[in-house]
Subunit: 396 residues, 2 copies
């Protein structure tokens, strides 16, 4: 199994962009990713492309992969649309890694794009609704906020997690997002703001929920055989793990864990030969504040039930023991469904390249990204490591 | 790059099944694929799954991959929905091959499913419409029949192809489909039937167009390291090729060829180290009769412009020099969008296993499948070969 490397990644601004299309957003992300490659890259080098999108709004629903790549001159390149709801581009990243490891591609593009804000709120409810479990959950009127609210309720009942602890997630992520020029909601919020905001789905307030967002992201994955052409400071895709599960929450054994996240994490750690204590930062899927606490627990950052205390104690702040969602996360950076997974990869690339500006983690060796589809019907985890930093650790 | 093998494949009946759901159809195909493995297979062996579907009707649009695999007890297995319009599951097959070649999976499931006939004709027009080029073609009122009619028109003008030659495609494919118990329209038709049928989009008559269909298909791909556990007569995935192109026909340089098919075919032949003369049968994408003629020419079965004469001379009939669409093709077997690509693989598996009944090609060594998305925005080609037959050829 040959190694795969991340040599470039970028995202567009996340936000509401009435003058942009999914093609124009894709182009901005693609060009950004190419520009971010240390030694540069010729787009003609790209052997294979994956585009993650849910297709909210349904304008270019089928063939939206080739419709995106043709727009940047990649017509001819095998292009596949990958979809796993909110984990669409996390899985596009996984496919790019598999394409490179398979030997069928030396350079693969992973990308994601979504346009959400030009669609009515009712239509968005439809497009997101049909990405949850549709036979039972959706037809009984349950929304994603409703599903995650049930998880929050269960976590509160089982472990004594509090609303204030959920609000700490919002405060931290907005604080980080305020340092990220690409963030959709790049402003700070206080505990009081989050606690007193209108309730969306009890116990979740508005500040416990991510926004709907337009945006795109792109990443370039290359094989060990060609990595030297693109960088002299390689970032290896050390671990990849994914898992599926019952799409409907009501079919699972637990409401206080996302088993697909747990399995995906274990598989990624095993492949990378690391454990959570080896990580220097993580981007996790905080579509709702409770989701970030579940991620801490499922990915082994803390014990089950301790996520609330973990965030409230500051452990995941920028200067904490394991900074989480340095980008602002889905909560503050925004959540353009199909773009979120590769958007996380773009943050990991920036952090490991030392280019994260005000929100830079000090000299990181290794980071993790974690992307969830729906309420946990799919999850995918990547572990990235900067080889020069690993070598220094080994030498030390 | 380690080798990948096809050890099992099956499809459901194709047709109109008001009592079935996409989950129940998927289950039938999956169980059929498992049952078709010569030495049997334990579903727990499956490491990774890909589900191709366009999601016509939009009921379970997102996470339709995990929603299918959980229904057969594969929850936990990394499952990805792959979509490239009518080539959705041809690309799912490609991803299964990449997963196996990457070393990340020893056993991968490729599958596809579509439910089309419980949707109104207007709704179907929408779901297919948004899978063509939507900014210009769809908004100008062009349907897929309209796009392929333009190709037929151009082919007639450039090469003198006739309506009767197009009708020969229908006659041949219905003749084959009448021998396939899984076919949607499993009856014979005459040249006169095809010529005098109502015009759908001039010059294409009803018999020059495939139906909308419900159905599912599944295939099992394994690595060289484990193939012996599943069969003692291995079928190797010798070649895989794919290409994208401009999604809109109006943006391409030619209307009388599908360049993505041509590139995909060349890549597959190169990887397999074969040329068209080495093939014993082919399943090609005949969504409209003109598409089959273009496939002959783009895949090198005959020279450009000679497709009409090739079919009229009987070259692609069951007893011709290169039998094409022995299953009945999209025209007679049916075209459940997401299931079509792996449905073709199921026919290749049957032929190479000697299980194709009345439509069996005599002792084939090698067969090709060819799946097109939209009007050619994506294409994917696979070449399969039965190793024992290759060995006999080499020995002879």
């Amino acid at each position: 199994m040959r190694d795969a490397y991340l040599v470039g990644a970028a995202q567009t601004d996340f936000g509401s962009f009435p003058d942009e299309s999914y093609r124009s957003l894709f182009r901005t992300a693609f060009e950004g990713a190419c520009d971010s490659v240390p030694a540069g890259i010729d787009p003609d080098d790209i052997d294979e492309a994956f585009v993650g999108t849910l297709g909210v709004g349904g304008r270019q629903l089928g063939l939206s992969g080739p419709a995106a790549t043709e727009h940047v001159g990649l017509d001819g390149v095998p292009t596949t649309r990958v979809e796993n709801a909110c984990a669409a581009s996390g899985y596009a990243m996984r496919q790019a890694v598999q394409a490179v490891k398979s030997g069928m591609a030396d350079v693969a593009l992973a990308s994601g794009v979504e346009v959400m804000t030009d669609t009515s709120s009712d239509a968005t409810k439809y497009w997101l609704g049909v990405s949850g479990e549709t036979e039972w959950e959706r037809l009984s009127g349950t929304t994603f906020a409703g599903v995650y609210a049930q998880m929050a309720d269960a976590h509160m009942a089982e472990y004594g997690t509090t609303s204030e602890q959920l609000s700490h997630v919002a405060v931290k992520n907005h604080s980080n997002g305020a340092k990220n020029p690409h963030a959709h909601l790049g402003f700070e919020c206080s505990l009081d703001d989050a606690e007193t905001a209108p309730v969306v789905a009890d116990p979740l307030t508005l500040y416990h929920c991510c926004p709907t967002t337009d945006g795109a992201a792109a990443a370039l994955v290359v094989s060990e055989d060609v990595v030297d052409e693109y960088t002299d400071d390689p970032i290896r895709v050390a671990g990849v793990g994914a898992a599926s599960d019952h799409v409907g929450l009501f079919q699972r054994d637990t409401y206080t864990s996302i088993p697909a996240s747990r399995e995906a994490g274990e598989r990624a750690y095993e492949m990378a030969g690391v454990d959570p204590s080896d990580l220097d930062f993580a981007e996790v899927h905080d579509c709702f504040a409770i989701a970030e606490l579940l991620a801490y627990e499922d990915l082994g950052f803390c014990e089950p039930g301790e996520g609330g205390e973990f965030v409230a104690a500051g452990a995941t702040e920028l200067d904490g023991e394991l900074p989480v969602n340095t980008s602002g996360g889905l909560k503050s950076k925004g959540h353009p469904i199909g773009a979120t997974g590769v958007g996380q990869v773009a943050e990991a690339f920036k952090q490991l390249s030392g280019d994260a500006g005000e929100r830079q983690v000090e000299d990181p060796t290794r980071g993790l990204t974690h992307n969830v589809g729906g309420s946990g019907g799919a999850a995918v985890v990547h572990v990235f490591e900067r080889e020069s930093a690993v070598d220094r650790e080994v030498d030390a």
